[in-house]
């Protein structure tokens, strides 16, 4: 699906010098195939909610969702809509609006493959991914049921120490990091400010699909003040404009979370009927979703 322009081995990483402009968020969402491993940032990091709603409308199935390092509304919606097969996360929560209802139902029904983690383990796995390393060691974890339930984690003896067990976490390499940026430019660069976990996600993933509040003509890398907060286009496959693309969640440097809407969701999603009604009203109805 992704064009590979690589004289060497095909590692699945997307072509350099891309950052293709796509006119439509639906077309961006359609690039995510069933079964893809997809990374989403935590609720406060600028979640691409418009893109997530489009994904649900596409009817994507079997996703391996990596929460960086936790999830909220977007993750609960994707789970409730039946898009997720595997959930890798340190937590899912609606924060002050309570527990994530669709997540809780899916756990009770046993319909999710759960990879419970801890926040720094998700970061460390992505760091291994961005370095092209097979694994990253991490302190803590030993003797916890978090580690005890992760068959994919291995305990080794520190090769530089003496009787010093340490947990090794395999690299997390998402097929796609889904990102919402404050600003994109025509060259495919994305300004994400100091939410550096989003930069990490882009580094680690084979491809990044992005929405942006606005797309500007000038090159973001020309501004020394912005440059450290830019995801350069080498990582970015495609971009679509989506004003308010993180709503009803907030966007750092942009807008605040819409607490009334979160309360409405928490209330409606308490049972499956209400969740379906929420989907009908705010996700599946394209006109309503675009408002």
């Amino acid at each position: 699906m992704l064009p590979i322009v690589n004289a060497g081995r095909d590692t699945g990483y997307h072509a350099p010098m891309s950052g293709e402009m796509i006119g439509d968020v639906e077309a961006l969402a359609a690039r995510v195939p069933d079964g893809a491993k997809v990374a989403l940032v935590k609720t406060t990091g600028g979640v691409p909610m418009t893109l997530v709603r489009a994904l649900i409308r596409c009817g994507v199935r079997g996703l391996h969702l990596v929460c960086v390092p936790t999830g909220g509304l977007a993750v609960d919606l994707l789970i409730g809509a039946g898009c997720v097969e595997t959930l890798e996360t340190s937590a899912v929560t609606l924060d002050e609006f309570g527990q994530a209802p669709a997540f809780g139902r899916a756990v009770r029904a046993g319909s999710l493959r759960l990879l419970d983690a801890t926040c720094p383990a998700v970061y460390a796995g992505l760091q291994a991914g961005e370095k092209g390393l097979p694994f990253m060691p991490l302190r803590g974890l030993l003797g916890s049921d978090v580690a005890g339930n992760r068959a994919d984690w291995e305990v080794i003896d520190n090769p530089f120490g003496d009787n010093d067990p340490i947990v090794c976490l395999p690299a997390i390499v998402p097929d796609f990091s889904l990102v919402h940026a404050r600003t994109a430019d025509r060259h495919g660069n994305l300004y994400i400010g100091d939410t550096r976990e989003v930069l990490l996600m882009a580094h680690a993933a084979r491809a990044t699909l992005a929405t942006a509040e606005t797309i500007v003509d000038e090159n973001l890398l020309d501004d020394d003040a912005m440059r450290p907060g830019v995801i350069p286009n080498v990582y970015v496959s495609a971009i679509a404009e989506a004003e308010g693309g993180a709503r009803p969640l907030g966007l750092p440097g942009g807008y605040e979370v819409d607490g009334e809407h979160l309360a409405l969701y928490a209330n409606m999603a308490r049972d499956e009927t209400g969740f379906s009604e929420y989907l009908d009203e705010f996700v599946l109805d394209r006109k309503a979703a675009a408002e």
């Binding site: 990091g45 937590a91 924060d95 527990q99 994530a100 756990v107 970061y123 803590g140 580690a147 976990e197």
Partner: protein
């Protein structure tokens, strides 16, 4: 569950019979600040207004020497490397104190933030472990904080260990539980015995009541017939400090808490 506690509305928790009329939250802020004394750097997690306020009070009492990082705040932390930075700092030994909570906490100091029942298909599922499976090992003074002290929360054995209270000798472990403070009392954690010791009862609470509401066995400070100390509440000047300077500072991440609980008045923006 990540030290997230719902805060009761105004008028609740006024301690009867005290002329100052301080609230439970204010006693906790004052007492937790005492537990933080001597720390160089205290971090408080998201959704933790009481620990955050306590850290700011401790900083004030240190004459500004103590560094405080309140996660989720714009002005009360100076991280520039994203979410990973707090964990990197902890691993380097740059964080001396942190706060954790648990849907369940047991007598060995194990905490459970994941759920009740057999994992993974649990009948009650909470958010998840957040950073606990890591920070519990690396931060020297972890203060466990839970505003519901019942047999539902203080259990004999947790259903899922997000973080263990202690580890075998060969496990790299610089930190762990230091104290457990609830709405009823204050426990210290004895790392040698790997169990809690009841150190003081909050005003109006009794040993019998704590025993009734605790699912695990614990030691009691001062054996014999001498009475257990009462957790001291804040004096008038401390209370004024909490309701003034501390309330104004904690309003950055927690405006609702600052106004509704600590009575901060005026325009917060």
């Amino acid at each position: 569950m990540n030290a997230t506690q719902s805060v009761p509305g105004p008028e609740s928790n006024l301690v009867p019979g005290t002329k100052e009329g301080w609230r439970l939250e204010e006693l906790l802020i004052d007492r937790i600040a005492g537990l933080l004394e001597g720390s160089r750097h205290v971090a408080a997690g998201v959704s933790s207004p009481i620990p955050g306020s306590a850290a700011l009070l401790a900083r004030h009492l240190s004459g500004g020497v103590m560094r405080v990082s309140v996660l989720g705040s714009r002005n009360l932390q100076s991280f520039t490397d994203g979410g990973v930075e707090i964990f990197d700092l902890a691993a380097q030994g740059r964080i001396d104190a942190f706060f954790l909570s648990g849907g369940q906490i047991d007598g060995a100091g194990n905490i459970n933030l994941v759920g009740i029942g057999d994992y993974p298909r649990q009948k009650v599922r909470w958010s998840g472990s957040f950073g606990s499976a890591y920070l519990y090992y690396l931060v020297p003074r972890v203060i466990l904080f839970r505003l519901e002290h019942t047999r539902r929360t203080m259990v004999e054995q947790v259903d899922f260990i997000s973080g263990p209270g202690s580890s075998p000798d060969n496990v790299y472990r610089q930190g762990g539980p230091y104290a457990l403070i609830t709405d009823r009392c204050l426990f210290a954690f004895d790392r040698d015995k790997q169990r809690f010791r009841l150190d003081s009862l909050h005003p109006g609470h009794t040993l019998e009541e704590v025993q009734e509401n605790t699912g695990f066995e614990f030691d009691v400070a001062q054996g014999g017939s001498s009475p257990l100390p009462t957790t001291p509440g804040p004096d008038a000047s401390r209370l004024a400090l909490i309701r003034g300077e501390i309330a104004a500072a904690i309003a950055d991440p927690y405006p609702k808490f600052a106004t509704e609980v600590l009575g901060l008045e005026g325009n917060l923006t």
